[in-house]
C-alpha cells in the first residue's frame, strides 16, 4: 500500500502560482466575487504563502506553496463530529462533502488553514459552467472543502493500470499542481517506497516539515533553499 506524499523544492520554486490555478481549474473550485474575496473567502486549496523578514534593504521574502499537507496525524479529523473527514489507507486526508454539516470545527483545527468553507453557492456564470471537470463534484454552499491530492486522478490511474494488467507505476498518478510546475519544483510519489524520487528527497538534509513540532507529521515535505555553490564547472550540454 503506497503512502502518497509530495516534495516541494523551495530553491526551484519561482512563486509563479501556476500550481494554484492548475488546482482550481482541475477541481472545479469556484471563484468568489470581489466583495467576498475582501472578507478573506477566496477558496484556494493550494496557496502561495509569503513571509517577509527584515527592513529595507536587508530584507528577504520567502514564498511557499502551501497545499493541504496530508498529515499522518491530522488535527482536523479528530474534531469532525460527523465523520465527514478521514484519512484513507493510502494516507490521503479526505473530505466527504455530502456528509459535511458545515460546522467548521476542522477549519479551525487545521494549523495550516488549508480547509475552506463554501460561504456561497458555487458561481460559474454563463458559459463558465462548460469548463467544469466531470470527475470532481461541485461542492454546494455550506460545506468545507480541501485538497484531495486530485483523488480522482488516482482512481483513473488505478483503473488504467488494472486495464493494462499491471501495478501502478511511478508517474502514473500525479496531482494537477505537480504536473504543471514550470520549474519542476514539485515532486510526487510513494513515500514508503525507498527507491522513489520523493522518498529520496525526503531523506535530504534540506528536507523539513512545516510546523512539524505540532506533531502533525505532514506528508508534504519541503526542501529549504540552498545557496549558490560558487563557480564550479558543470558538464557542458552537447
Amino acid at each position: 500500500m503506497p503512502r502518497w506524499g509530495m516534495v516541494v523544492d523551495l530553491t526551484k520554486c519561482t512563486a509563479c502560482q501556476a500550481c494554484v490555478v492548475a488546482c482550481q481549474t482541475e477541481n472545479n473550485v469556484p471563484c468568489v466575487e470581489p466583495e467576498q474575496a475582501a472578507l478573506g473567502r477566496i477558496i484556494s486549496w493550494l496557496k502561495v504563502l509569503p513571509e517577509i523578514k527584515g527592513a529595507y534593504p536587508r530584507i528577504s521574502m520567502q514564498l511557499m506553496p502551501l497545499p493541504c499537507l496530508h498529515c499522518d496525524s491530522p488535527p482536523c479529523i479528530r474534531v469532525c463530529p460527523v465523520g465527514a473527514t478521514g484519512i484513507t489507507p493510502e494516507g490521503v486526508v479526505r473530505q466527504i462533502f455530502a456528509r459535511c454539516i458545515g460546522c467548521r470545527y476542522c477549519t479551525n483545527a487545521c494549523p495550516y488553514t488549508r480547509r475552506m468553507f463554501n460561504w456561497y453557492k458555487p458561481n460559474f456564470p454563463g458559459e463558465l459552467q462548460q469548463a467544469l471537470n466531470p470527475d470532481v463534484t461541485v461542492r454546494p454552499k455550506g460545506v468545507v472543502e480541501k485538497c484531495t491530492l486530485c483523488h480522482h486522478r488516482l482512481m483513473q490511474a488505478k483503473e488504467r493500470a488494472r486495464a493494462e494488467g499491471r501495478a501502478l507505476a511511478e508517474g502514473d498518478y500525479v496531482p494537477a499542481c505537480v504536473e504543471i510546475c514550470p520549474a519542476n519544483a514539485m515532486y510526487f510519489g510513494d513515500l514508503d517506497d525507498p527507491d522513489s524520487k520523493v522518498a529520496g528527497l525526503a531523506r535530504s538534509p534540506r528536507a523539513f516539515r512545516y510546523l512539524e513540532d505540532l506533531g502533525t507529521e505532514p506528508k508534504v515535505i519541503y526542501l529549504t533553499e540552498g545557496e549558490w555553490a560558487g563557480g564550479k564547472e558543470k558538464p557542458r550540454q552537447p
Binding site: 523544492d9 530553491t11 526551484k12 519561482t14 512563486a15 509563479c16 502560482q17 501556476a18 494554484v20 490555478v21 492548475a22 481549474t25 482541475e26 471563484c31 474575496a37 475582501a38 484556494s44 502561495v48 509569503p50 517577509i52 527584515g54 527592513a55 529595507y56 534593504p57 530584507i59 528577504s60 521574502m61 514564498l63 460527523v82 465523520g83 455530502a98 456528509r99 454539516i101 453557492k121 458555487p122 460559474f124 456564470p125 454563463g126 458559459e127 463558465l128 462548460q130 469548463a131 471537470n133 466531470p134 463534484t137 461541485v138 454546494p140 454552499k141 494537477a176 504536473e179 504543471i180 510546475c181 514550470p182 520549474a183 519544483a185 549558490w228 555553490a229 563557480g231 558543470k234 552537447p238
Partner: protein
C-alpha cells in the same frame, strides 16, 4: 409521499433544531448520514467521452504549447504540451486560466456596430455579411480616392504567420502602416541594433549561463518567454545537477524575481547604467575581461582616431576616468565592496550574462542603460557562446515581409529614414494622427492589442482615435480601444481557431507551432485571418491575388511548405531525441522524420510544430553587422544619428560632438520636485502581464499575493515612509502626480524603497467586463515624453505625493 427537501432547507431546519435534535437523542452522526442521502448536487456536470487536443496559448508573446482535455464538446482543462520546446509541459497561471477566456460571460457574441457616436457609443449586433461589407466599402472607397496609404493596422504580439498575412494584406492594398505594440525587449533590441547592427530577435542561452546579472528585468514575472525562463531557473537549481549558476537581481524594489534570486542588490532607481559601468571598471582594472575577444571583435574600446584624424575617447578611458568605484557607489547607493564583488564574480564565472536595463514586458528601459549592460557581455566575451547572448536566425519565409522593423515601404506614418531605430514606434502614432502629418489617417484596424490601455501615452491615443474617421477592432472583448471603434469584428479565442506562433522573445531557436481548432466556436465570432481573406476576396485586384487562399488553413499550409523547402530542423520530439538530433546536426547530418511538405504538415499538427534545435555559434557575419563589422562600444550608427540631431546633445546636457553621446553612459537623473517627494514606479506582475488578464477571476485572485491584495490596485509603501506621513496599512490614500490623482488602498511593503512607491500595472480598466473594471491604471498619472526622438518610449515613472483620502 413526495419527499422534495433540498439540502439547504434541510440544513436550515436541522440547524434551527440542533438543540432539540441533541436532546431527543438523534446524533449528529445520524444527521449527517441523512444529510448525505438528501444531498442533491447543486451543479450537475455532464459527462462525455474524454479526448485530448493540442493548441497554442496566445495570452502573452511566448506561445506555449497547450494540451487541452475535452469532455465531449467541452474543453475542461488546459495543460502544457510536453513536447513543446518552449514550455515542455509546464505552464504559467495565465495559460491555465485560458478557459475563463474561452467561456467568459462577457465575450462579444457577434459583430457590433456603433450606432451612437464615439463619445457615447451604443452597440448594435449586426450580421457578419453586413460587417464585412461595411469594411470593404470603406477600404474600396479609400483606395479609389488614392488614399490606401492612410489605413493603418495596429497589432499585438500573438501569432507570426498571422502577422505575415496582415502585412501582406496591407502591402498589397497599398499601405505601409503596419504597427506593433512596443515590447519590453525593445531596449535590449536597440542595444543589439546599435552595438551589433542586428534587428533580428535578441536571444539568450539562459539555461547554459553560469552567472546571470539582471538589471531590473522582471525575469520571473513575465519577461521574454515566461515558462521557458522558469524552466531554466529550475534547471539552475536542480540539486542533482549541481548548483552552478548564480542569479543576481539588481533593482530598487524587492520584486518576486528579486526575492527568488540568489542575491538582490538594491540600487537607486535609474542608475543601472552607472552600476554596469562600475562593474566594467572592475573587469578592466582587475584584468578580468576577455582581452582576446575585445581585441579581435570589438570597436571603440581603446582611444582611437577617425578618418579625419580626430581623436576619440575609448570605452576604457571613459570607464576608468568617470566610473571609479567611489563615484559609482555615490550614484547608485550600493556599497563599494558589493560592486567590487559583483565585478569579480561576473568576470570569473563564465559564461556570464548581463540583461537589462530595467524592462518590464511591455515597457522598455533607458537606452544608455541597455547599451552599458550589453557592453558587459562583450567585455567578458559572452556573445555567441553557450550561456551567452545570441541572435536568433530568421524563420524560413521571413524574407518576404522582413522581420519587424524592416519596412521597405516608404511614407510610414511614424517611421522615417531619419529615425535611429529601424522599427516603427507605436507611441508616436497619436502625435502623427493629431498633427495630420505626414498625412491624415483615415482608417485604423486594431487586432490583438489594446493601445489605449497599455501604451504609456494611452490617453493621447484615445484622443487621437477620435480624429480617425473609421476604426475597426477585432477584439473578442470590449476593451478601452474597441470601445472607441465604429465596428467590432470579434476574433475567436485561442481554442476556437487555427493557432500558430513563432519563437518567443529571448528564445534562441527558430520555431513554428501550429495547431488546428480544438472546438467549435462558442459564439458567432470569426477568425480574423478568415475575415481578412474574405475582405481580400471581395476587394479584388492586387489584394485578392496576393491572398488567394480560401481559408486560413490553406495559408498556413503554404507557409509550412516554405519551412519544408528550407530543409532543416525537426518536428517537436522528446528532449532525449532533441539532444540526439542536435548532435547529429552539428556533425553534418540532418535526418528528418518527413519527406514531403504534406508529411511535415501532418507531423506538425500531431506534435505541435517544427523547430531548428541547433544554434550555430560564431557566424560573425550574421551577428556583427555594424559599419566596423565588430561589436561597437562606440556606436557609429548612434554617432551618425546624433550628428543629425543636435537637440539630443542639448537634452543630455553634453556638448555636441562629445563622445559620451555614442558611448554607454549614465544619463542625468532628474531632481525630486519639492511638492512631489515620492517616485512612483509601476510594477508588472505575472498574473496581469502586458496589462491583460484583469477580467479573469482566477488571475485577480492571485495577483497581489505578496501583499495580500486581491481584486484591486494597491500602493506599496515602505512602513517607515508611511509612518512619517501618518498613514496606516490598509488606508485609502490619494496618489497625486502633476497629471492627476487616484484613490488606492495603501499596503505596507518592506520591499519598497523609502523614497519610492509602487502600483501594479493591469488595473484600472473603464470598459468591458465588470471583473476587469477595478482599481487604477498608474500609467494615467505618468507623463510620457522622454526619448521619443530615439524611437523608444520612456516615461514609466513619475514623482507623486501621497495623502490620506
Amino acid at each position: 409521499m413526495n419527499l422534495r427537501v433540498n439540502r439547504r432547507k434541510f440544513l436550515q431546519f436541522a440547524g434551527g433544531g440542533a438543540v432539540g435534535v441533541a436532546a431527543s437523542g438523534v446524533t449528529l452522526q445520524g444527521l449527517s448520514t441523512l444529510n448525505a442521502a438528501l444531498a442533491a448536487e447543486e451543479v450537475q456536470v455532464p459527462r462525455g467521452p474524454e479526448g485530448w487536443s493540442l493548441s497554442v496559448c496566445s495570452l502573452c508573446p511566448a506561445g506555449c504549447g497547450l494540451r487541452v482535455r475535452m469532455i465531449g464538446k467541452r474543453a475542461v482543462k488546459i495543460q502544457g504540451n510536453p513536447l513543446h520546446p518552449v514550455n515542455r509541459g509546464g505552464l504559467c497561471p495565465r495559460g491555465l486560466a485560458g478557459l475563463q477566456v474561452l467561456y467568459h460571460p462577457d465575450r462579444l457574441r457577434a459583430p457590433q456596430k456603433n450606432v451612437g457616436n464615439r463619445e457615447s457609443p451604443r452597440w448594435k449586433e449586426i450580421s457578419w455579411d453586413e460587417a464585412i461589407e461595411t469594411v470593404v466599402q470603406r477600404l474600396r472607397e479609400l483606395r479609389n480616392r488614392n488614399q490606401a496609404h492612410t489605413v493603418a493596422l495596429v497589432s499585438g504580439h500573438g501569432g507570426h504567420l498571422r502577422q505575415r498575412l496582415f502585412e501582406r494584406f496591407l502591402r498589397s492594398y497599398g499601405s505601409p502602416n503596419s504597427l506593433r505594440l512596443p515590447s519590453g525587449l525593445d531596449g535590449a533590441q536597440a542595444a543589439a541594433y546599435l552595438q551589433q547592427g542586428v534587428s533580428e530577435g535578441v536571444a539568450y542561452d539562459l539555461e547554459g549561463t553560469h552567472y546571470l546579472l539582471s538589471f531590473g528585468v522582471n525575469v520571473l514575472e513575465g519577461w521574454g518567454s515566461p515558462v521557458s525562463t522558469m524552466r531554466a531557473f529550475g534547471a539552475w537549481r536542480d540539486s542533482a545537477a549541481g548548483r552552478v549558476t548564480k542569479f543576481v537581481q539588481v533593482e530598487p524594489r524587492l520584486s518576486v524575481t528579486a526575492a527568488r534570486a540568489d542575491e538582490w542588490v538594491a540600487l537607486r532607481p535609474g542608475t543601472e547604467a552607472a552600476l554596469a559601468l562600475g562593474i566594467a571598471y572592475v573587469l578592466i582594472t582587475e584584468g578580468l575581461y576577455d582581452v582576446r575577444f575585445v581585441a579581435e571583435r570589438t570597436f571603440g574600446f581603446e582611444d582611437w582616431h577617425d578618418a579625419k584624424g580626430r581623436a576619440h575617447t575609448g570605452f576604457r578611458s571613459l570607464v576608468l576616468s568617470e566610473y571609479r568605484l567611489n563615484d559609482v557607489a555615490a550614484i547608485t547607493q550600493i556599497p563599494v565592496e558589493i560592486i567590487l564583488r559583483l565585478g569579480r564574480e561576473f568576470g570569473r564565472n563564465r559564461p556570464a550574462l548581463a540583461i537589462g536595463g530595467h524592462q518590464s514586458s511591455t515597457l522598455p528601459g533607458d537606452l544608455h542603460a541597455s547599451l552599458a549592460v550589453h557592453s558587459l557581455n562583450a567585455l567578458v566575451g559572452s556573445l555567441e557562446v553557450p550561456g551567452g547572448a545570441l541572435v536568433r536566425a530568421e524563420l524560413p519565409g521571413d524574407a518576404e515581409t522582413g522581420s519587424r522593423g524592416r519596412n521597405h515601404l516608404p511614407a510610414n506614418l511614424v517611421h522615417h529614414d531619419k529615425a535611429l531605430l529601424p522599427w516603427a514606434d507605436l507611441t508616436r502614432l497619436p502625435d502623427a494622427i493629431l498633427s495630420g502629418k505626414p498625412y491624415a489617417l483615415q482608417a485604423l484596424l486594431v487586432h490583438g492589442a489594446d493601445p489605449v490601455f497599455t501604451l504609456p501615452n494611452g490617453e493621447r491615443f484615445a484622443q487621437a482615435l477620435k480624429r480617425v474617421p473609421f476604426v475597426v477592432s477585432f477584439s473578442p472583448f470590449l476593451d478601452e480601444t474597441s470601445a472607441q471603434a465604429d465596428l467590432i469584428l470579434p476574433d475567436h479565442t485561442d481554442l476556437e481557431k487555427w493557432q500558430e506562433s513563432a519563437s518567443p522573445p529571448t528564445f534562441p531557436f527558430p520555431l513554428q507551432s501550429i495547431s488546428p481548432p480544438v472546438l467549435e466556436p462558442v459564439h458567432h465570432t470569426r477568425d480574423t485571418v478568415d475575415v481578412l481573406l474574405a475582405l481580400a476576396r471581395t476587394l479584388g485586384g492586387e489584394v485578392a491575388s496576393a491572398l488567394p487562399h480560401a481559408t486560413g488553413e490553406e495559408f498556413l499550409r503554404q507557409q509550412v511548405a516554405e519551412i519544408f523547402a528550407a530543409q532543416a530542423g525537426y518536428t517537436f520530439t522528446t528532449s532525449l531525441e532533441e539532444t540526439w538530433n542536435r548532435l547529429s546536426e552539428r556533425s553534418g547530418w540532418w535526418v528528418p522524420t518527413y519527406s514531403s511538405a504534406n508529411q511535415l504538415w501532418e507531423q506538425m499538427k500531431q506534435g505541435g510544430g517544427w523547430w531548428e534545435p541547433t544554434y550555430y555559434y560564431g557566424e560573425w557575419n550574421r551577428v556583427l553587422r555594424t559599419p566596423s563589422g565588430r561589436f561597437e562600444f562606440y556606436s557609429q550608427r548612434l554617432a551618425q544619428w546624433v550628428a543629425q540631431h543636435p537637440e539630443v546633445a542639448k537634452e543630455s546636457g553634453l556638448e555636441p560632438g562629445d563622445d559620451r553621446l555614442c558611448l554607454p553612459h549614465q544619463t542625468r537623473l532628474p531632481d525630486t520636485p519639492k511638492e512631489f517627494p515620492l517616485l512612483l514606479v509601476p510594477v508588472e506582475i505575472l498574473p496581469l502581464v502586458g496589462g491583460h488578464g484583469a477580467h479573469l477571476p482566477y488571475l485577480q485572485q492571485i495577483a497581489g499575493q505578496h501583499v495580500f491584495a486581491h481584486w484591486d490596485s494597491w500602493l506599496e509603501m515602505n512602513p517607515q515612509t508611511a509612518t512619517k506621513l501618518g498613514l496606516e496599512d490598509g488606508d485609502w490614500v490619494w496618489v497625486e502626480s502633476p497629471l492627476g490623482r487616484a484613490k488606492v488602498r495603501l499596503r505596507f511593503y518592506e520591499g519598497a524603497r523609502p523614497d519610492v512607491v509602487h502600483m501594479p500595472l493591469g488595473y484600472g480598466r473603464t470598459q468591458g467586463s465588470a471583473w476587469g473594471r477595478r482599481g487604477n491604471n498608474p500609467l494615467r498619472m505618468i507623463p510620457s515624453d522622454g526619448q521619443a526622438s530615439a524611437g523608444l518610449p520612456r516615461g514609466t515613472q513619475t514623482y507623486v505625493r501621497v495623502y490620506k483620502s
